[in-house]
């Protein structure tokens, strides 16, 4: 068991939570805990994953109701503190709905649900989830969504591109009509990554008919990153204690 603690947030209607749990714990040896959406993220959690599914049945808009869940204030705080956060599919939709990541996921150009394999191209290999991939690397992976077409206005897309915040693009840019073929993006600091394809479905020999090597690196990246991150956090909080102390009021 690697000493990296990952919390999987479960909303009513999440349905890839168990798949993510299996891959994180049984395949990569993380210390994994489910976090029910009304609870708080346990202290000492090194990374948070928002799995795929149909939270609240995708009613109103995918992710729109889950974005109001109590747990999301914790996720927002951890994200701002630099904790790695990964949103997959519905998890990505929730991250955009609550504004942690920019843009929106719209109904696919085909107007229907799409379940098929595709290739991603890595554009940012310095996030906690891509540090063991290389820029330009292809990642065979499945998509499975009805509202997966990434959309943001021109200014936002330009900012994302300039800031190196496009993490993945579809090799076939027109697969679902996403602007610029964007499949995954990250936050300003890079610690929050949202992606529509499902890495947990691509990380095992049995479930990946093409090549599971690249998708495995998404999880290996986190395994390598989290301990370093924890060390860094500890130093920061230690420094904070020395410099300020608990009761200090900030202006």
């Amino acid at each position: 068991m690697r000493l990296v603690k990952v919390g999987i947030v479960v909303f009513p209607g999440s349905n890839c939570d168990r798949d993510m749990h299996h891959v994180l714990r049984d395949v990569f040896g993380f210390d994994v805990q489910y976090v029910w959406h009304t609870k708080t993220v346990p202290a000492g959690t090194d990374a948070v994953v928002l799995p795929g599914g149909f939270s609240y049945g995708d009613r109103l808009r995918a992710g729109a109701i889950a974005a109001h869940s109590p747990v999301m204030s914790d996720v927002r705080r951890l994200a701002s503190e630099g904790t790695p956060v990964l949103g997959v599919c519905n998890g990505f939709q929730i991250l955009t709905e609550c504004g942690i990541l920019p843009g929106a996921l719209l109904v696919n150009e085909s107007l229907g649900f799409m379940c098929q394999w595709t290739d991603l191209v890595v554009e940012n290999a310095s996030t906690p989830f891509t540090s063991m991939l290389y820029v330009g690397q292809r990642v065979p992976i499945p998509i499975a969504n009805g509202e997966g077409r990434y959309y943001a206005d021109e200014d936002t897309v330009r900012d994302l591109q300039r800031g190196g915040r496009v993490v993945f693009r579809y090799a076939d840019g027109s697969v679902n009509g996403s602007v610029g073929g964007i499949a995954g993006i990250c936050s300003d600091d890079g610690n929050v990554v949202g992606m529509m394809p499902h890495p947990e479905r691509a990380a095992e020999y049995e479930t990946n008919p093409v090549d599971c090597g690249p998708a495995r690196m998404i999880f290996e990246s986190l395994a390598g990153y989290a301990p370093v991150q924890r060390q860094r956090q500890r130093q920061i909080s230690h420094a904070g204690r020395v410099g300020g102390g608990e009761g200090e009021a900030r202006p």
Binding site: P12, G57, L60, I65
Partner: protein, 107 residues
């Protein structure tokens, strides 16, 4: 001939459930209104009186809306013609849905 904007609203017939509307009411509107009012949700009694800025919502129905631009003699015949099209092309399924069709002169 005049130009009309014909609005076709398709919704489930009375007595049939509307899961989407029910979820939006139960899991978002009522819950959020309550949470805001009680500052966190736990232990609140579900009263909606002070949430949602005092707006007392008791039911939400979803519908699909089609807005058509139609040239016709008058509003009445525009509605009648559109209804015929809706029926003929199965734009709604009369077994589960009903349509409300209204026409206004195009601005």
């Amino acid at each position: 001939m005049r130009r009309f904007i014909v609005t076709v609203v398709i919704e489930n017939k009375q007595g049939l459930s509307d899961p989407e509307g029910e979820t939006i009411l139960r899991d978002l509107v009522l819950k959020e209104g309550r949470d805001e009012a009680s500052g966190g949700g736990a232990g609140s009694n579900g009263s909606n009186e002070s949430g949602n800025n005092g707006c007392r919502i008791s039911e939400i129905k979803t519908a699909k809306m089609l807005r058509m631009t139609v040239d016709s003699r008058d509003a009445e015949s525009a509605v009648r013609d559109v209804r015929k099209v809706c029926d003929a092309l199965h734009l709604y399924n009369p077994i589960v849905s009903m349509v409300d069709i209204t026409a206004e002169p195009s601005p």
